[in-house]
Amino acid sequence: MQTRGTRTDIYPFAAIAGQSQMKLALILNAILPAIGGVLIRGHKGTAKSTAVRGLAQLLKSQNGDASLTELPLCATEDMVVGAIDMEAAIKEGKKKFQPGLLKRANGGMLYVDEVNLLDDHLVECILDAAETGWNRVEREGLRTSHAARFSLVGSMNPEEGELRPQLLDRFGLSVQVEGETDTALRVELMRRREQFDNNPGEIISGFITESRSMSERIEQARGLAPKVTVPSHLLKFVAEIAEVNNVAGHRADLAIERAARAHAAWCGRDVVVVADIQAVAPMALLHRTREQAPPQIPPSLPPEDSEDNAKDNSQQEKEEQSAPNPPQEENSEASKSGPVDSSDTPDASDEQTTDNDSINPDEKPDNTTAEKEDSPKEEHVFKVGAPFSVKPLVSDTDRHRRTGSGRRSRSRSANKQGRYIKSTSRRQNGDLALDATLRAAAPFQKSRRETMASTMAVHIRESDIREKIRQRRMGNILVFVVDGSGSMGAHKRMVETKAAVLSVLMDAYQKRDQVAVIVFRGRNAVIALPPTSSVELASRMLTDMPIGGRTPLSAGLGRMSDMLTQIHRKNPLSRPIAILLTDGKSNAALGEGPAHLEAIALAGKVAQHHRNVRFIVVDTESPGAIRLRLAQKLASALNASYFEPENLRAKEIVNVIKEIV
């Protein structure tokens, strides 16, 4: 078996200037892995992965920790959980388990960069193991299990889409990393980075003293952490924080409590004080508060503690910078290998979904969004109208293979593009999964060798053949074509419309759909948002959309047609959905004729041209006595599903999409 590493020089953790929150979260997690991992959210180029790798390197070289195990995005399932050892099976005729990344990570840190882009199935494998501390494997006639205690660190750029709330919740802490805005600090960052790129050894040895004292401090804190106690009134305080911030479930409480203990140990104390809780609570809450945009923290504090705020904060900062040596405590046990909350251990039997090809584990209504509805706190975020729980838009098991395959339809990639995630014995497209085929054939090699004559070392039979299951991350593409003109603003229809759009977006976000927005107003139509998986961007832009001007419906249709052509060119098998939010009025034509007739004629052509696209027209005409129902005409020209203004509840639109998908 080839497990081969490439050495590279790693930027020292101690040399990272600024980013104190991120560094603190990583350190706390290293002190007490039971915290349950760290998720680092932040824009590109903010040294997220540099910090993770730097800390792992520090802990390895100074504290003798296991090396960092990195999970690349293109990993296949067998490499993560483990599989039958093909070489041993072929050569020795033995069924041997070849451990995967989860085994390698045992006792150390498992790092997933861009964790929001990792295949769902893999994410679940990892999180299950992280939670139970155990990896159970049942595949290819092999049944085994092994300890998989590791602390999980993930990083992600929210621009690229969110992690599902269920997955977010499983990370103990999370931090939001921003670019530093202090000029002197940036200069220092620049200087060090350039020096590192020119001569890595110089920086590494230049920071050796800092590195040592940091690792010593971590080691001491590790010894101290199990002895740290939390006074009972502070336990109550923790519970209150969770409650005030509306983060139901015990995970937040546990994370705060454990992180506070680690923080106390990091500061050399064996008892938790308010300052510890204040320092860590934001990290435990950031990803658990149920808002689409990152919430504003810190949490509100009980009145009796508020007077300490300023002092505690500054004290903490000082402690961070000067790194005083905490009182020496000897405890060889420490808590290096992640102890796991045993009450969390899920039923092992439902973990071995070896083929969830068509079964969607996400089909249950998403309770986290459901709770949004009755939470008055959310109003300010979605003041555009109440969003609501969206029933999952899951189709019947998709019988048509196509490329665009997100969570929504679970259809798999039919051509050989897309990510190979696992294999199947079902034969469909001749996309041979050689590794899986060999593993399937391996156990029989000894007997076959005796009966078959061949020059090949491996005897493969028809029944061994496995094909690749590939998945493409992109789900469907939803193209919103929105009337941004005065005719909608006048009737406050925009509020309803935006609510509808946001609800669809929230659903799209969880299904990994891509969204694009075209707005027509004034004299033309613009692509306000090119296809993106960042629903955050889409929602932000739709809520801030200005209203006014004339209504160039034809231009909107034209722009939409162009975009659909591009989408088609990029992925000919995609089946985008175009959602038009309009009252059907048009008063700005492209040519000479009447604007309205021109739009209808154009709509007919568009429908002809884009047969792979499903159209939905949401009539935004103000309900009332006199109605023109122009949008209905548009809908029939487009061969679209049509929505009465009376039915303009966002829920209905979602249901229509559900029927289509």
Binding site: K44, T46, C74, E159, D197, Y420, P546, R569, K570
Partner: protein, 343 residues
């Protein structure tokens, strides 16, 4: 791996015969001078001959030392970043034999599957010997070279992920198909795109150190020159290339000298502060642009054989580094039509 590189049976169009496109050329030079600037994104409409310059680049690329026979073209002088094989050979006390060869331009076709890009299980070896062996992919071939992607905005999303993973560490980590393997993969990413066909994922965009916007040439004299040179090249590639040989040699020498001088170029504190301020004011994400600007300014100075970075170099660097990183509000277009509201 011959099909990945531009190996032509006749000479390619000489780089020095390309008319105009100074900014594009400069962007390429700077990346050659300091490969850690990490790439050039060339944006432009159809028919602006974006790829001509990249394909011709091979002409003027410098030579590097590689370990003989290593599929990852390890640098024999960089002990810290040797591949597994070279590492163990070096540890055994073996002297790694090195050869000199030109920096390669390796093309990543849009149709490339993820397997092909990262590397995969060697099928023949597996069937014949019942053993797993890693078959290096495009990323292995691109190590220490230029990875060229035409129409990079149309690249499959999963392949983009892989590039990002790889660019972050300069290492390609493979955990798939029963293979667990990693090898160094540091490359200069050069991509072309027509923005009309869709934007690039911001994260990938950020990985391109520099970006140039290529416009069609409007000057009639230049246009005539382009057509004439093209025709002359088609008629007699060898003769034409010979005509430009002196210029090509001179350009190569200038670049070699710049590579040599780069280490001596200094940037004062004032300059560093100006760079940081520029980046902060531009509102770019993260800190990558600062360091890229510094390196680019130094490379500009080195190219002009200057020892000191001045604001001129910083300005030139900023124009290549900042525009594609400015946080582009997706609704800017909309806002331009109406009230400015979003902060």
């Amino acid at each position: 791996m011959h099909h990945q590189t531009f190996i032509a049976d006749r000479p390619g169009f000489p780089f020095s015969a390309i008319v105009g496109q100074d900014k594009l050329k400069m962007g390429l030079f700077l990346n050659v001078i300091n490969p850690t600037i990490s790439g050039l994104l060339i944006r432009g409409e159809k028919g602006t001959a974006k790829s001509t310059a990249v394909r011709a680049l091979a002409d003027i690329l410098p030579s590097i030392e590689v370990v003989k026979g290593c599929p990852f073209q390890c640098d024999p002088n960089a002990q810290a970043s040797l591949c597994f094989q070279c590492q163990s050979r070096a540890t055994m006390g073996e002297k790694l034999e090195s050869v000199k060869r030109k920096v390669k331009v390796v093309e990543l076709p849009l149709s490339a599957t993820e397997d092909r890009v990262v590397g995969t299980l060697n099928m023949e070896h597996a069937l014949k010997h019942g053993e797993k062996k890693f078959e290096p992919g495009i990323l292995a071939a691109a190590h220490r070279g230029i990875l060229y992607i035409d129409e990079v905005n149309l690249l499959d999303d999963h392949v983009v992920d892989v590039l990002l993973d790889c660019a972050a560490m300069g290492v390609n980590t493979v955990e798939r198909e029963g293979i667990s393997f990693s090898h160094p993969a540091k490359f200069t990413l050069v991509g072309t795109m027509n923005p009309e066909e869709g934007e690039l994922r911001p994260q990938l965009q950020d990985r391109f150190g520099l970006c140039v916007q290529v416009e069609g040439i409007t000057d009639p004299h230049q246009r005539v020159a382009i057509v004439k040179r093209r025709a002359a090249f088609e008629a007699d590639p060898f003769g034409f290339t010979k005509q430009f040989e002196a210029e090509s040699v001179q350009l190569s020498q200038q670049i070699d000298a710049a590579i040599h001088n780069y280490g001596d170029v200094v940037a004062d504190d004032d300059i560093l502060f100006d760079i940081a301020r520029l980046a902060i004011e531009a509102g770019v994400d993260g800190h990558r642009s600062d360091i890229v600007m510094l390196k680019t300014a130094k490379a500009v100075a080195a190219f002009h054989n200057r020892k000191q970075v001045s604001m001129d170099e910083v300005a030139e660097a900023a124009s290549l580094v900042l525009p594609h990183r400015m946080r582009r509000l997706p609704f800017d277009d909309v806002l331009n039509m109406g009230s400015k509201k979003v902060g």
